[in-house]
Point group: C2
Chain length 385, copies 2
Amino acid sequence: MFQRFSFKISVQSCALLVLCFCAYVLTTHAYAQRIATQFDVKILARGLQHPWGMAFLPDGKMLVTERPGRLRIVTSDGQISEPVKNVPVVYSEKQGGLLDVALDPNFATNRLIYLSYAEPVNTSEGTVASTAVARAELAENSLRNLKVIFRQNPKTHGGQHFGSRLAFAPDGNLFITLGDRGNHMEEAQNPGNHIGTIIRIRPDGSVPDDNPFVKDAKAKPEIWSYGHRSVQGAAIHPETGELWIHEHGPRGGDEINIPKPGKNYGWPKASYGVHYSMIPINDEHAEQGFEEPIYYWTPSIAPSGMLFYTGGLFPGWRGNLFIGALAGRHLVRMTTSNEKILSEEQLLQNTLRFRDVEQGPDGAIYLLSDEEDGKVLKMTPAAAQ
Amino acid sequence: MFQRFSFKISVQSCALLVLCFCAYVLTTHAYAQRIATQFDVKILARGLQHPWGMAFLPDGKMLVTERPGRLRIVTSDGQISEPVKNVPVVYSEKQGGLLDVALDPNFATNRLIYLSYAEPVNTSEGTVASTAVARAELAENSLRNLKVIFRQNPKTHGGQHFGSRLAFAPDGNLFITLGDRGNHMEEAQNPGNHIGTIIRIRPDGSVPDDNPFVKDAKAKPEIWSYGHRSVQGAAIHPETGELWIHEHGPRGGDEINIPKPGKNYGWPKASYGVHYSMIPINDEHAEQGFEEPIYYWTPSIAPSGMLFYTGGLFPGWRGNLFIGALAGRHLVRMTTSNEKILSEEQLLQNTLRFRDVEQGPDGAIYLLSDEEDGKVLKMTPAAAQ
């Protein structure tokens, strides 16, 4: 058996590096032969501090958040703007900070964008925070008429488990994925607050009439589903229009779920992981009345970012599900059939902590790496050899 | 983040080596922390030439086949017997040779064992071969009263895709998994012969009355399912009693299937792989009237051997599915729910070509490595550190 992995790095300019990953596997035994889609990965931009979310503008530029609280515009050739002005103040501790960014479905006419972030409030007992979502108009390099359209209630101490991703459904409603805030995991079982939930609101923050708990006085009307731990990946299935998410397990048990209205996904009563205290968790979801994940990872890969690829550059990957892995330091590619995972492949193994994955208007796949010298990476089909 | 992988080798005796794999992953970010079941792997015996199948005797010894045509008895401390006498002559070319071995469910009283192998016949146009299954009584170190209970029909030229695994169902019937013989893949669509099929017979070779094709004059009555490529893994689900198998795809598309009576699994009309000629294959199974796999691997891992673990030594792995990977050079551990794969983990990554995986009467997991200096490996929970 003969294996060749070439890994070529050449500096093209101050902020431009080219990485070329080419993998061939040749074997003498035909039955053991393998193929792989070949692709190049280019570092488009670097020097972003813990970039977290990205969204493409109609002109091909992209908005990129940095967790400490900056929003940047990155051009298609990798130029990084000054920070966009009038971004809300964020609670930048541990997992908190400026998180996801999304464009309004009618951005071309209304210029509205949405930001999710850990929003602090100072109290006599110190700073508390929770995930909030603001929308604003994007002017040249600043935000105007910013309005907070959602606040996770209650705000609590600590820097863990803010979620959060933003995903617009085909019906125009906005899904916001949240976390259990770490110290309040038991509240993920209580739909009377927003801890450990997925939220569904209209783009102006009002509650859709068909949300599952609108007629339940004991539950928050914004809630779509609950019993989640910390949801850092969300994508709309290109054919069904349904929301798919993944969430971090504790020690093991990262899950993929397809959240259904009003359903309980079991955290912290059910998980395929183990509490950090090493106390076991009942892994029986259905038997306890909770929804089973459609797939999980033990040990954890620490998933972040989620994309259903629909572009033209990688025809063989159309419909595939891509997920970044922080602890795993790889990019997951999966195929699916209805509500099942049919296969899993790890790309870019043992490279970077991948925080987000998006498809560009050019059909390329863009990645963010979670690091002090954070990068925007661009995947394209391998150039002919 | 801090990772430690220790890999310690110490020679204890001529044929005994101890490998200790211990993996810890410690991370500074709690949300990225991971756990792994720790285990030791000991090389129990070595010097076996391409060992292919194994089966445990009631006294804790194991039968191990070597592909060139030898059957050995290996003791629980790794002593390897002289070749067992009166093993049938095999066609030892490429993937052909002496393949799987299984004990009769009533072995304790009847001493019967079953061997699958590539059986040659010399013709005026050279040697042709196909997979056959023989049963015989195991005496001290020889076989007695050997009888061939099944022959794949037709015999053909070439050394590819013989299958084959043997698995007894709870009802006492014997499943035999076969291959398409490489040069005759199109015949896998024709149940009028045994090419690319799974066989279900009684232990004496007769056909059960409830086989799906017993009343179909155009089909072979021994066939359980068809449209398979080369099936080198089979296991009975410990709760449902159903047969699970995996099969090699061409370039990609190795599948896990749960073969149902009379069903067509689509090879070579449907596959998630690519023909060696690089001609694409339609990956739509259901749309063409074939059964969809429940999971697949692209690129190929080249699976071989299959075990549902039910032992006491690894309580956290009870019910898990283990599969060896030849090209992958790792051991797959999967969890399942009904007829779905819920998670996949790779153990012993980048180590050996794992040909078979079985559970010993002591609850340890035993592996065979496919190499000239083939090994029997024993996995046990890690000793306390």
